[in-house]
Symmetry: C2
Subunit: 288 residues, 2 copies
């Protein structure tokens, strides 16, 4: 497994892969890897001749007062997870190389980012799209893999790629959960055992919402209120948003119809957790 620490090294490695006629899969991460990331890596390994994983905690996607300084980092653990999977290269750029003195360019996706995490974290998606475009142009993969836990991020990146004619295929893969339903997240490390128990309220609320919609509920406001009431029971939680929205545009719905996304962002202690469930109009019996 090659460890590439500079942009020129990464570009040269990628050029060699292309010149050898190999396909390249790419999994961009902020480290603190878990089974969600690893599912992306495994899929890339299955799809592509070569796989590169980047680890870069991107300061531009953290707002003032967010957890940039405490975001979990453990390179040795990450390396021990990636190596057995047959990852070919890990790209570990520095902040100074990614954002040198005088850096002043931003990539913005407008409409899709006006809702959900974009509304509650101003500047977050600009940080995401800017760094992801940079990584795409440095790594030059054929395919890049993202998790559906960050479903809004996935769609924003798809939109950017289409709008800017970026030569990368974007693949989204399902949320990976613990056995009890908690969505895998690097930020789960912030939870103590009691908080972790409370955090199960997210996936449970989504599962109940799914059942209510499949049973015929069409009143989005009532559904949001029901979800909010569940969290009101826990003193240690603070709702960031509860959304019942159009799954393509993220616009809040009045009447539930077509494909609906139920999406949550809830603080449990200091951990801001997100989870979501896409519900097709035709009831499907898979769990969220």
């Amino acid at each position: 497994m090659e460890i590439l620490r500079s942009i020129p090294e990464m570009k040269a490695w990628s050029r060699q892969v292309r010149q050898a006629g190999r396909t390249l899969g790419f999994v961009p991460t902020m480290g603190a890897l878990h089974d969600g990331h690893l599912s992306l890596v495994k899929r890339s390994r299955a799809d592509c001749d070569r796989t590169v994983v980047s680890i870069f905690v991107n300061p531009k996607q953290f707002g003032p007062g967010e957890d940039l300084d405490t975001y979990p980092a453990n390179w040795d653990a990450d390396r021990n997870l990636l190596e057995p999977l047959g990852v070919d290269a890990v790209f570990l750029p520095t902040r100074g190389d990614m954002y040198p003195h005088g850096f002043q360019t931003t990539v913005t996706v407008e409409d899709l980012t006006g809702h959900l995490c974009g509304e509650s974290r101003p500047g977050f998606f600009e940080g995401v799209t800017t760094v992801v475009l940079k990584l795409f142009l440095i790594v030059q993969p054929d395919t890049a893999y993202f998790g559906e836990k960050d479903r809004q991020q996935l769609q924003v990146i798809r939109r950017m790629v289409e709008d800017l004619n970026v030569n990368v295929s974007v693949v989204g893969l399902p949320i990976v959960r613990d056995a009890d339903g908690l969505a895998k997240s690097s930020r789960n490390q912030y939870l103590n055992p009691a908080q972790r128990e409370i955090a199960l309220s997210l996936s449970r609320a989504l599962e109940q919402a799914r059942q209510r919609i499949e049973a015929g509920e069409t009143d989005a406001a009532r559904l949001r209120r029901e979800i909010e009431e569940k969290f009101a029971l826990h003193a240690e939680t603070r709702i960031d948003y509860v959304s019942v929205c159009n799954a393509d545009t993220f616009e809040e719905l009045d009447v539930i119809q077509d494909n609906v996304l139920v999406a949550l962002a809830v603080f449990v202690g200091k951990a801001r957790l997100i989870d979501n469930c896409l519900i097709e109009r035709v009831p499907c019996k898979e769990p969220c």
Copy 2:
């Protein structure tokens, strides 16, 4: 000379060039070609194995009330200029292909665009950087050529390319002028003979500014005032800006020092004309 009218055609043509191991030079234009454009094409032909010229009047770089609808277009004339120069392909995308329904992504370069044309034409540079990045990612050239008449544009594009790690070398080439000094511009077509005579005031003002600076003038405000007074003599002119600024940052100077850029934007009739002169600290005897 291949005429490529769709994005997939352009991408496929470019892929073939790369796979054949050829270098590709690119001259993005809005058509209405003149000797300034042709100097870029000739340089690309000299530098690169293959040369592609794009012609696309980019609506995103025109503001309300600007001349999008009247911008000169003459494909037959453009073709007759390009063909004898040995251009290999011309890319002629449609507006609908470049900005399909739902398009919502913008590339912004912040600091450099807060001055000169960026200040007087809000949204202009976002339109430029967005379309140029798209064109770069579609055409995938090794080298792209831009004229120094649009010196701010050139530096903004250089900054974008560096910040986003775009794999394109950007080359800027000197302003091409008519024998009497008028900078070549597609918008010169808007001038009647009397206006064309008045338009010479731009290059003359720059030449006088150069002489004053080389003779030791250090007071930027006095120099701006002197230039403004020249245009006050002509009823048919309206100054957009007169700038005596730092040539790297475009910040207005109080005291002239190091490399100074004198830049003008002046309406002559309905034509908004720009011109500029870079003056090195060490006096050089070349004309502007």
